[in-house]
Symmetry: C2
Subunit: 353 residues, 2 copies
DNA sequence: CCGGGAGCAGTAAACCTTTACCGAAAATGT
DNA sequence: ACATTTTCGGTAAAGGTTTACTGCTCCCGG
């Protein structure tokens, strides 16, 4: 069932079979036809390991994410795979579960399996580990982590734009007490989101209240815990932004459980705009960052590294607000705002209930 | 950076290096130490493709699922990977998106990359495709599909138990009009769930109303569409079971949007008990099937095939009801039932408001 | 009719590892 | 001290493919 069998059946040499399979144009169409027939006849599939071994090209792209059970990542993985396959690659998925030890084993797998390039979207990689990749000239793309090293691109996410939109949206509704539930703060992306939030508050002239900034962990349980922490305080913010949608869902759940209305008592904004956000009740206002743009940019960056010695490039991914039901006027200000507002069309839908 | 470099540095032959790496006991500890030091020094990683090529063992297990964006599957994948890694394997994920054409390419990848075994949890595989695997003696495990062929195990899921519990639960609450939103009916699992539902209705003496059985597609959008279809009818069932949680979430969303209370007006039961089910508002009553049991059984079945010529085995996976807030008394019967009931403790929580 | 070149198929080396087999050295027994 | 066994490291083949190089065939011009 190897290439020799095909060669025998087609009465050609294995070299011709190989050339046929790889669409090398110097092969005589008549022979090619014979070869393809033999391949079909035998149901022959080339052995990927042997090909990779001799050609030095594994046609494998690595993707290291935080955790596969956070729906954001499957949505990203799907896009990444799609683009990879379009370009003749397959993907190798690694998930760190936020654990540096697991990152180590992810890197190890990427190297062992000879990934030609690796995209990383979780926390940053420590120098000695990083070297395992760079020493082997494996190109890297980081999403939202910025180790200033040659040979790796960085995909910047413009968190600021989307988050500012979110804060402005809340401010326009009349919110002045806005909380924020962060992700794990050793994640650069979590840091950036928090920073963007603070900056946006300043821009809108809203004071930053550190007691309303809670460190979470990008899980629903973390969101519930954060909500609990917020509820323990004597006054509760009228709006809460979250570093991702999972947190927001946890917060939403916990608040509802505690008898608070969303958005009546508290407005909530998530981040990522996972598919599920739309299905929550109330549906979740969230800040979207395009998964497909991200995936496309990541693969594209890896490809430029692989194909030429093109210079390290930076891509920027946009974010923008998607308004749904989980944001509304804070209690008591609704009527006043209604009257004051001159731009009716811009008003978000009135709070449900 | 290959095995020769290590051999040179450690002043041994490549054979000794190889034996050291593979923990062959005949290697002298003193030499082994030298070798390990050299490996560490050089940061050497064995080349997986070369190993696989010569040993004939790729240490790769395939897993073909329906779609990666349905949270059930990431949860399954996580378990599968964990067990696979425990056993020294890595996994290769394929997703069909319910498309036979994609199944074809999944199989192709599995063969090309020399997966040692493949677990399939989506629809069944057509005979000619199946042959591509069986001809190469690649063991298969099907979850809930039953092609009676040697060399492959089947993991049966006892849908009946969990679904009967669900129907009994609804019946005990006083529901007599129960709808069902199916999955895509060419999926054997969707068929089985529907069959189990009908059987359970019979057992509980509840009539089957075909107009309340809607074909869905295991997505949230499908759930919304199904709900819409149900709402168009002149009388709406007081409870709806769904073939998976994504459907249930869609149904729940659509019903709420239409002003119906869950569970006040309609009770909902999902299937799979994805993590998110707990977070819905109201939280979703669902039927659980253990992902980790499933993963463990799948890997275990593949291993028995790989290691010995052990006979084809059948595993059965249990399902059971998890009661949450989305099921309650149908309107009007609550008080009557309250009075009649002798087992207060068993009563589910009163419908939220 | 012959020489030269184009076109194209075949041979063999190479990729990196595992492993069967061989042989040397050490250990054991007498 | 010698013979026999045990231990264990080294050599080389093998695994399936790609690809550089070789060389055959055929065609064309002179």
């Amino acid at each position: 069932m190897d290439i020799h069998a095909v060669a025998r059946l087609a009465h050609v040499s294995i070299a011709t079979v190989s050339r046929t399979i790889n669409h090398i144009p110097t092969v005589n169409p008549k022979m090619a036809k014979r070869v393809w027939e033999a391949i079909r006849e035998l149901d022959y599939f080339p052995n990927t390991q042997a090909r990779a071994l001799v050609s030095g090209r594994s046609r494998l792209l690595g993707l290291i994410v935080s955790e596969i059970t956070n729906p954001f990542f499957p949505e990203l993985i799907q896009g990444f795979e799609e683009v990879a396959v379009e370009n003749g690659y397959e993907i190798l998925i690694g998930s760190t579960n936020y654990d540096p030890e697991r990152m180590k084993s992810c890197i190890r797998r990427m190297v062992e399996r000879n990934a030609e390039g690796v995209a990383v979207m979780t926390f940053g990689i420590e120098q000695p580990l990083l070297d395992q990749l760079t020493d082997r000239n494996i190109p890297l793309v980081f999403v939202d982590v910025a180790p200033n090293k040659p040979g790796m691109s960085v995909l910047c996410v413009d968190y600021h734009h989307g988050i500012r939109q979110g804060v402005q949206h809340l401010a326009a509704l009349g919110h002045r007490n806005i909380g924020f539930v962060t992700g794990p703060l050793r994640l650069h992306s979590a840091q950036s989101r928090l920073a963007a939030f603070k900056k946006a508050l300043l821009e809108c002239g809203i004071p930053v209240n550190d007691r309303f900034i809670i460190e979470g962990d990008h899980t629903m349980e973390g969101g519930m815990a954060a909500a609990e922490q917020i509820l323990e305080q004597k006054n509760v913010p009228t709006a809460i932004m979250c570093s991702n949608d999972m947190l927001a869902i946890g917060v939403l759940h916990k608040l509802s459980r505690s008898g608070l209305q969303v958005p009546g008592d508290v407005s909530i904004i998530g981040f990522d705009d996972i598919h599920m956000a739309e299905m929550m009740i109330p549906s979740l206002t969230s800040i979207q960052m395009s998964r497909s743009d991200l995936a496309r940019a990541a693969v594209s960056a890896l490809r430029t590294h692989l194909e030429g010695s093109s210079p390290r490039r930076e891509f920027t991914i946009d974010t923008h607000l998607v308004v749904r039901e989980s944001t509304g006027f804070p209690r008591g200000t609704m009527n006043r705002l209604r009257k004051l507002s001159t731009r009716r069309a811009d008003l978000p839908a009135a709070p449900r209930q």
